[in-house]
């Protein structure tokens, strides 16, 4: 006997569970069943949609944060070390 639509439906996932799975979902690391449940839930839940978008924004912003630089003195020391190590040895005459 065929199952009725209610019995065939994917069990719902709570917002609390969605919040835990968000990063795995965004990186396509959630298993297929969880992914489907997430997609269905996100289509109907504005709070979770907002949450997932915010985590995606945070992920993207982290790669764009201004980077700390080496101090000029450190940079000079490293450049000197690099130059010394990479310079060819003096030729024997």
């Amino acid at each position: 006997m065929a199952l009725n639509p209610a019995e065939q439906s994917v069990p719902d996932i709570t917002c609390r569970e969605v919040a835990e799975w968000t990063s795995a979902y965004l990186d396509a690391h959630a298993d297929d069943a969880t992914h489907v449940r997430m997609v269905l839930h996100l289509a109907a839940c504005a709070g979770c949609e907002t949450y997932v978008k915010q985590i995606a924004s945070v992920r993207d912003m982290l790669g764009l944060l201004p980077r700390a630089c080496a101090s000029p003195a450190q940079r000079d020391r490293l450049r000197q070390a690099f130059f010394t190590r990479q310079a060819p040895p003096p030729s024997k005459t």
């Binding site: 917002c15 609390r16 919040a19 978008k53 944060l65």
Partner: protein, 242 residues
């Protein structure tokens, strides 16, 4: 274009291009940009070395700060890392990306220094604190009982499309995000910096930190949520949210 992989004779700093058939034996084919960079480095191109330092120095300092006591020690660890990179360039075989190799050296040196300072946090310490099992989002933001248990009681307020751009242009917002990163436990900080700040592929992060992908995502999400929460507080103030 012929694919090449970098290898090098022990006694020489010159890169030797090897044919595609030899890539498999090296374990990983590097991108054209990466190969070019390594060749430039091995040819003693100071500009290439400067590029490398500019690109990774800040993230290396941040990661080191998760393992050692203060900034001064972190800078020493990073300096040692760069020296090891300079010394080891000739032996780098391209089995991982250059970036992964550099961060691997940093992690090794930072852990070693952290152990000597007795500040190293072992995995069992981390587990015993229960961080791995706590939920990323404050449970009090969800309905605790009734028909809607587990659904939002205090949902996040939407950001407009310009919010990320505005945040990155705001010194206070950037400081809030940096502060959130700095205050992360070392295990969360390592994954966040490698995956999101540096953009290292998940599998490489797992290999570097010797963790499973599931474990990676548990940690990564806790770290991202703490930064998201810092942004939320910056935008709305602590009183408006839980």
């Amino acid at each position: 274009m012929n694919a090449v992989v970098i290898t090098c004779h022990e006694s020489s700093l010159q890169a030797l291009p090897v044919r595609a058939s030899q890539i498999a034996s090296a374990g990983l084919s590097l991108s054209y940009e990466e190969q070019s960079l390594i060749i430039r480095l091995r040819n003693g191109d100071e500009g290439a070395f400067d590029e490398l330092v500019t690109k990774h120095h800040g993230a290396l300092i941040r990661m080191a700060l998760g393992h050692v006591a203060d900034r001064e020690v972190a800078e020493e660890v990073v300096q040692d890392t760069w020296m090891a990179v300079i010394e080891g360039l000739a032996r780098f075989e391209g089995r991982s990306s250059l970036r992964t190799w550099i961060f691997g050296i940093l992690i090794h040196k930072a852990k070693d220094r952290g152990v000597r300072e007795k500040r190293h946090i072992t995995f069992s310490d981390f587990e015993s604190k229960g961080d791995e099992h706590d939920e990323a989002v404050d449970p009090s933001r969800f309905q605790q009982s009734g028909e809607w248990a587990g659904h939002w009681a205090f949902p996040p307020q939407p950001w407009d499309k310009q919010t990320p751009e505005k945040l990155l242009a705001s010194r206070q917002a950037v400081n809030a995000m940096n502060k959130a990163i700095e205050s992360l436990p070392q295990t969360l900080k390592d994954v966040l910096i490698l995956r999101d700040v540096e953009g290292v592929e998940s599998k490489e992060v797992c290999e570097l930190l010797k963790i499973t992908e599931t474990n990676l995502y548990v940690r990564l999400h806790r770290a991202r949520e703490r930064v998201r929460r810092a942004v939320e507080v910056h935008l709305e103030g602590p009183a408006l949210t839980v």
